[in-house]
């Protein structure tokens, strides 16, 4: 990586950490929701620096866009201020330190960034990058892998979204009986 890229990466990661700390310390949930959007956008910029535009695209549209909106819509139904914690924060700090330490310990076994001998870069042989050119002939290898080589996985992901959508519809709308529907349509006309 060139010096500029490294500098930008360090800057973005520092901003990510600062945003995360600000979100944790904040009691105003509206502001916290907005900061989470900024957090996602910084994450998307970081993915961009790692040459993963498809992931960056998803993070920007889902993380910064739709989930911020959904959190705000949920906040409109509840309260906008977090309650003061009743227990001591020390227990939380301990849990976070232990979990963080375990995660850091886990990364010690991982291959270095861009390592040619890592399993992700050495399997399968020939790689999807080479096979896509001959077998599918689309310039975006990510689409070829997601849609064709890993088509079952993407079908599974689509059914997960389908299930999530149906569940939200059942949970949030199921309580209302059919009798209420005419009232609802009258309300719509007023707006």
């Amino acid at each position: 990586m060139s010096f500029e890229i490294q500098l930008a990466t360090v800057l973005i990661l520092a901003l990510l950490a600062a945003t995360a700390i600000a979100v944790v310390r904040m009691r105003d949930l509206w502001a916290a929701a907005m900061l989470m959007g900024i957090y996602s956008f910084l994450g998307a910029s970081w993915m961009m620096l790692l040459d993963a535009p498809d992931v960056a695209f998803t993070e920007a549209s889902v993380g910064a866009g739709i989930s911020t909106i959904l959190v705000l819509a949920a906040l409109a139904l509840t309260t906008t201020r977090a309650k003061e914690p009743v227990h001591s924060p020390l227990l939380g700090l301990l849990v976070v330190c232990v979990t963080g330490g375990a995660l850091l310990y886990g990364t010690l076994d991982m291959p270095h960034f861009g390592d040619g001998a890592s399993p992700a870069n050495s399997y399968p042989q020939p790689s999807y990058v080479e096979r896509t050119e001959k077998e599918i002939e689309v310039p975006n290898v990510v689409t070829a892998v997601l849609g064709s080589y890993r088509g079952y996985d993407t079908l599974g992901e689509t059914s997960v979204i389908f299930t999530a959508g149906i569940s939200v519809l059942l949970l949030l709308r199921g309580t209302r009986s059919r009798r209420d529907e005419p009232e609802e349509s009258r309300e719509e006309e007023r707006t």
């Binding site: 498809d54 695209f57 549209s61 866009g65 139904l77 689409t143 389908f162 959508g165 719509e188 006309e189």
Partner: protein, 140 residues
């Protein structure tokens, strides 16, 4: 919020371009970054913006909840149906090459386009319906 003239005008100006960009991301996904998932979310974001400025009733007139609910399932059926068609043509499930047996590469392109279209329909309709159930609940 419906009386904010600047918001209304700017929203009306931006909406066609948001939806057009979503369609570009959808159908250009095999050439540039993007695909059905991202396109679906951007398409839904257009409807969410419309709902924020013009009210939920306006969106429900354009996209009735009943239609959106049917679309939630339609997208997944298009995806799985593509797999069934390749099976009927003697291939494996989702073996797109069998869509055009004479020219498997074309079959791959058709298959990718179909399944991305299915993903896009399901994702956008799920996002629209989740948002409108959340937003509609506050007034009930």
């Amino acid at each position: 919020m419906t009386r904010q003239t600047i918001l209304r005008v700017i929203t009306k100006l931006m909406l066609p371009y948001i939806l057009l960009f979503a369609l570009y991301v959808q159908f250009h996904g095999d050439f540039g970054p993007g695909g059905g998932f991202q396109a679906g979310v951007i398409f839904a974001a257009g409807f969410v913006l419309y709902a924020l400025v013009f009210g939920l009733g306006a969106v429900r007139r354009v996209a009735p909840p009943r239609v959106i609910e049917v679309l939630v399932a339609t997208g997944l059926l298009i995806y799985a149906g593509t797999g069934v068609v390749t099976m009927l043509r003697g291939g494996a499930f989702l073996e797109y090459g069998m869509l055009t047996p004479g020219h498997p590469i074309h079959g791959q392109h058709y298959g990718l386009m179909l399944i991305e279209f299915g993903v896009g329909i399901t994702v956008s309709s799920v996002m629209i319906s989740i948002f409108s159930t959340f937003a509609g609940r506050g007034r009930a």
